[in-house]
């Protein structure tokens, strides 16, 4: 009898959900290894269920989901040809530089919007008000997209040396960047304002991930100069989103420096040795 037919419901459900996640891997990798990965995951589920029950399954899912995020980035980044990797890292550096400007301009537009119509100094801005509103709505998501591309570049450049903490930080930054963008798109299209929380949380955790990467970069001496930049950028990003708006300028400077470092030093890219 096929053992999968006698599995508990929790194991069956988990395996079905993992099967859905497998669809995110590159097609060739999925076709070659997908069934085996599913089989191994099912074996792990059975063991976790037998030894730890549902809490064991939850712990397994936490580990597996982290593994999924790491390996999916790895497989997608290796799907391309290696010669493209260096180019992508350079481009992601430029993306961070442009993103820094978009971030600063977006926040500046947001601050100017808070004008007082009775104030003689801000009154001349009245006719430009709608354009300022429009520019913030475009500039901040554009900055988010560019920071996301920059985080991908940081991952490709430093994943090998950043250790588990650094890699985790960058994975968090990438995933949360995607979540923030999805929340923003949903907020725009559904007009359901509670997606605002998803956007803010995603942005906060993106910068949180950059802080983690910064700590790992300090520990492992990854950056040739301006070593505190990722940590300072992360903290300033979080504080400027949380209400200390003037710090958006420092965040922009930090993003600019990170972008400059990336595009000027994409690393020596060669076909990787047998690394996991």
């Amino acid at each position: 009898m096929n053992p999968s037919t006698t599995d508990p419901q929790a194991v069956k459900l988990s395996a079905s959900f993992y099967n859905l996640l497998l669809a995110s891997y590159p097609t060739r990798f999925r076709q070659e290894y997908g069934p085996h990965m599913l089989q191994v995951f099912r074996d792990c589920c059975r063991k976790a269920y037998q030894t730890g029950g549902l809490s064991g399954m939850l712990w397994l899912w936490a580990l597996t989901f982290f593994d999924f995020l790491q390996s999916i980035i790895e497989e997608h980044s290796q799907r391309g040809v290696y010669m493209n990797k260096e180019k992508f890292i350079r481009l992601s550096g430029w993306a961070l530089i442009v993103g820094a400007f978009a971030w600063v301009l977006g926040f500046a537009a947001g601050n100017i919007q808070e004008y007082n119509p009775y104030n003689a100094l801000t009154r001349p801005l009245e006719r430009y008000f709608q354009y300022l509103v429009g520019s913030e709505v475009i500039l901040i998501p554009a900055a988010l997209i560019l920071i996301l591309v920059g985080s991908l570049g940081l991952y490709l450049r430093y994943a090998g040396q950043a250790g588990r903490l650094g890699r985790s930080g960058l994975v968090i930054a990438i995933v949360e960047g995607v979540i923030a963008l999805v929340a923003y798109a949903l907020m725009l299209f559904t007009k359901f304002e509670y997606f605002w929380f998803g956007l803010i949380l995603g942005m906060l955790l993106t910068f949180g991930g950059i802080i983690l990467f910064g700590v790992a970069a300090l520990r492992n001496r990854l950056l040739p100069r301006w070593k505190l930049t990722p940590v300072i950028t992360g903290f300033c990003g979080i504080l400027s989103i949380s209400g200390l708006s003037p710090l958006f300028l420092l965040t922009g400077v930090g993003l600019f420096i990170l972008g400059y470092l990336l595009q000027s030093d994409p690393g020596i890219i060669s076909p990787q040795p047998a690394t996991g």
């Binding site: 891997y25 085996h36 089989q39 191994v40 580990l63 999924f68 390996s71 999916i72 690394t275 996991g276």
Partner: protein, 120 residues
């Protein structure tokens, strides 16, 4: 890893995942889940690999010629025939030995500098 590894030194240093997979296969061919369990047992649970890391590493090790897929399938009475079994190649064994030697040299250096005494 896009091409086969030409010499053991070219593949060094190995990541913990690759080193532990090679070590798990050192005493005979195994399938994916058995490798995972072996790595967990060998490292007292310190290295836990998910299916993504395991098969991502296996893919690169196959491409590098460090491991090979076994043609022979086990007795269906004893195991699931759908499983794939992997074994070390001659190159894989040499890479494993070279990495073990490299780690051993580092250990000797740590001992010479008295680092280990502080750890213990």
């Amino acid at each position: 890893m896009s091409d086969a590894v030409q010499s053991p030194q070219e593949a060094l240093p190995l990541t913990p995942a690759v080193f532990n997979i090679l070590l798990a296969l050192a005493d005979g061919e195994k399938h994916g889940y058995a490798i995972m369990l072996d790595v967990e047992a060998n490292t007292s649970g310190q290295v836990k690999m998910g299916p993504g890391t395991l098969y991502g590493s296996i893919k690169r090790m196959l491409a590098g010629g460090l491991i090979a897929e076994c043609d022979e399938r086990p007795d269906p009475e004893l195991d699931d025939q759908r499983r794939r079994y992997y074994s070390l190649t001659w190159l894989g064994r040499r890479v494993l030995a070279a990495e073990a030697q490299r780690l051993s040299s580092q250990l000797a250096l740590a001992q010479a500098k008295g680092v280990l005494l502080r750890v213990i």
